[in-house]
Amino acid sequence: MLKSKRTPILPPPSPEKKYEILIDSEQCDGCELCLTFCPKDIIEISEDKFNSRMLHYAIVIKPEECAGCRQCERLCPTVSLYILETEIKEVINNE
């Protein structure tokens, strides 16, 4: 495992937004890029699960801490990962 996981890009704090990290595990290669560059250690590679190509894929371990910086999304080389952003206020209004 890596010693330094942080990238210099700091996520902007944003209390009004909620982020969902969506991962397509069939598409995911388990390459670890997303988690390596995530400033918040939110993603992990599953130790036991694997997809049909026998690849252990990425899973989200603490979605609530996501800062929405989208570094993972931009990096994912297989287009498997996507940050779904919802305005918390709006959500409340709608309910």
Partner: protein
């Protein structure tokens, strides 16, 4: 009559299928057979299908491919399987990975098909990259117990031991794992 054996291994790029074949022909050569190894592969990015045909013969070999006449077919990846399975005929004994290959039975419908957890076993043993040599051990055990030709353990040993030091231990271990798997498998299925 000639002693002759035709084997096809198939998988995907990066699984070391060609290496597996080359180890086997080396063993066979040590055991004094005529040998050929041919490879069918795709570019080395992200695991395209690959298969290789190994032919052992007590006489010189002319046509170096399986042509719907493989004695043994081993497949450890879906795409590789799909591309390679036309080698099978009524007498082929097929060992098909249990996890990575779907609907083999539908596609083949010929010969004898065994499902074996090859890649899973390698993965479980934390050596997913050694599934190829695991196959070798598996095959050697099969040949010993059922094959037309048994290449003798000592030749396997000879070749495995002549490998560069840094790979030797892991290869021998996978080889043995393969032998164990076969025995387990045989126990389970018979």
């Amino acid at each position: 009559m000639n002693e002759k054996l035709k084997i096809r291994f198939s998988g995907r790029g990066g699984q070391g299928i060609k290496f597996l074949g080359s180890v086997l022909v080396r063993v066979a050569m040590a055991a004094n057979y005529y040998v050929t190894l041919t490879v069918d592969y795709t570019p080395s990015v992200r695991g395209g299908p690959i298969f290789c045909d190994v032919i052992l013969d007590s006489a010189p070999i002319s046509y170096p491919f399986c042509d719907k006449d493989a004695d043994i077919f081993i497949a450890i990846d879906q795409k590789g399987f799909e591309r390679a399975s036309e080698c099978i005929y009524e007498k082929t004994v097929s060992f098909i990975d249990e996890h990575t290959i779907a609907n083999a039975e539908e596609i083949i419908q010929k010969g004898k098909i065994h499902r074996v957890p090859i890649t899973r076993r390698a993965d479980e043993n934390k050596m997913p990259k050694s599934a190829n040599i695991l196959c070798l051990g598996f095959l050697s055990q099969y040949l010993k117990e059922n094959g037309k030709i048994d290449l003798k353990e000592k030749y396997y040993d000879q070749v495995l031991n002549s490998m560069p030091e840094r790979f030797r231990a892991i290869n021998i271990q996978s080889y043995q794992l393969g032998q164990v798997l076969y025995k387990e498998y045989v126990n389970k299925s018979q």
